[in-house]
Symmetry: C2
Subunit: 346 residues, 2 copies
Amino acid sequence: MMKRRSPTAEDVARLAGVSRTTVSLVLNGVPDARISPETRQRVLEAAARLNYRPHAGARHLVRGRSEVIAFVMRQTPDQVFVDAFLPEVLRGLSDVLREANLHLLLFPLAPDHAPEETTRLLQERRVDGMILSGPRFEDREWLEHWAQETPVVLLGHLAGSSLPSVDVDNLQAAAMATRHLLRLGHRRIGLITNAPLSYTASYERWLGYRQALEEAGIPYDETLVAFGAFTPVSGAAAMERLLQLPELPTAVFVASDVVAFGALQVIRRHGLRVPQDLALVGFDDVPLSAYLDPPLTTVHLPAEDLGREAGRLLLQWIQEGRPSTATIRLATRLIIRQSCGAGGGT
Amino acid sequence: MMKRRSPTAEDVARLAGVSRTTVSLVLNGVPDARISPETRQRVLEAAARLNYRPHAGARHLVRGRSEVIAFVMRQTPDQVFVDAFLPEVLRGLSDVLREANLHLLLFPLAPDHAPEETTRLLQERRVDGMILSGPRFEDREWLEHWAQETPVVLLGHLAGSSLPSVDVDNLQAAAMATRHLLRLGHRRIGLITNAPLSYTASYERWLGYRQALEEAGIPYDETLVAFGAFTPVSGAAAMERLLQLPELPTAVFVASDVVAFGALQVIRRHGLRVPQDLALVGFDDVPLSAYLDPPLTTVHLPAEDLGREAGRLLLQWIQEGRPSTATIRLATRLIIRQSCGAGGGT
DNA sequence: CTGAAAGCGCTAACAA
DNA sequence: TTGTTAGCGCTTTCAG
């Protein structure tokens, strides 16, 4: 098969019997360029005949925009690859991008990768902006630096940063989950975190838990708090610890479904029943939580909306300049299933 | 903040006191260009001082390569977003790409999107090649067409296509799972498919199931086969049907873990125990299968390797021309947990 | 060993 | 209303 050169604007111009300029004007639909209807028609036809598409590289060079944005994943594989959260975010995001005719460059940047790899993307002008998912504290400096030249939106929270960001209202969500347990009459409620408290999301959920207890006039008891770290295994260990307590909690709020899976396993091994002996509430509403035994009561995260909002914010920055909105906090909702003992249906 | 122009090769040349050519030669490490060590040194220093990076668009234009490849997801959201399979594939893939200094453009192309959207990527020369994940039968034509001009690798199987592809050996895997059940003494073994048989993967698994039965001298009984379709809900319905049978199967091979989740739920509702009353084997080994009750015996899919191999194949095509390898079939392995009754450890 | 010059395909200011 | 022209930043013959 001959590797025939793809058609250029020149070819279209020749076929239509006009100049390259005219082709450009017509094809880009430049508003104030008044082109005679028939010329426009001829150009359009020629372009269609040749199946012409402008060369992305050439366009990039001359317009200064690549029409690509980067989605940088800062999480460890443990965090990213364990549930379906990420794909849903990407779905929301790519819907928004598709409408705007932008493309999505996926760039994994594990914590052990140097941030410079990302800055290269920007220096090479390969992308018009980026969304950083799971920003880390160490990232603040280079982020702020780059944000002066390139639009950057955060997915998640970065303490002390003024960059636009989209996140879930973790504190409210955790408080809501805890209040639910309180409402069911529990007084001795444990907490298993989703991650070490150095992670903002984890910290905020911890705060929410405390706040709910406080509202109910229950003193915070640190022995009831165990620390998970993204994985079921960590949840198992944490629950194991709680079950060593002389006086067991009657309910536990596990700030991550995935972590809760491990916790649940340990509870079973100890011969305890959920929710009768121990009520459980999770967080994230990963797609499979509904299929545990018992189905897990949990906090639903609007993953797709997070992606969509992050996309919108970035688009706005690219098109109209840096948005004034500092942070968008998306609300969550409690999905009541059976693990908390307030169970809906069969 | 001043939007200062990023440095160009021209700037580097000026600072180093050489010509643009020299800069290019040095920075690209052109082998046969003999540059005096000190000149080279000066150029390198100047580039470092200015923090110079070549403009991706310019490079793309002149070299004819964008250094980006597309990962096109052809699956429905139902298929893609339900477990952690995709992220793992992407991880393997991006490892390979990173080494080769290529970037990854993620392009969701749901079945209801027109394939033309993808061909635009190629016509605009936005990508140097693509990986199509979950090819559909209707895609054959445009795929073959484009593969004449652009490297394309399939992730999954496309009947009748000669494009290089990477897939799991579904038939062997399904046979292995079924044989395991046979070995445990089951004779009346049901099958719940992962999808309609029009999907190659589904069809192959069905074949594997049949083959294993045949080897054991057990006649194929069509009433024991029910059809799932990606989701837990579909698995529930399928299992419901099997449980209506006058004579129940003693074991069921469910060709998808996610579908198995729904099936398991129904089994429980019917008051049956797994594995005592009904043994279960899944397929995919999604990360959460180990945390079901009972933990699911299943077939492990080397997702990361699939991504890696697909990347390698594509790279090879881009760099050295179309590979002769038609299809790479990756082996799977059986993960024996408790749902089959042959249970390992606690 | 290094520099001058051409041109990749496109857009946009300026003329006509 | 349309065409001429000058680059965008880079690579790459081809001379020097």
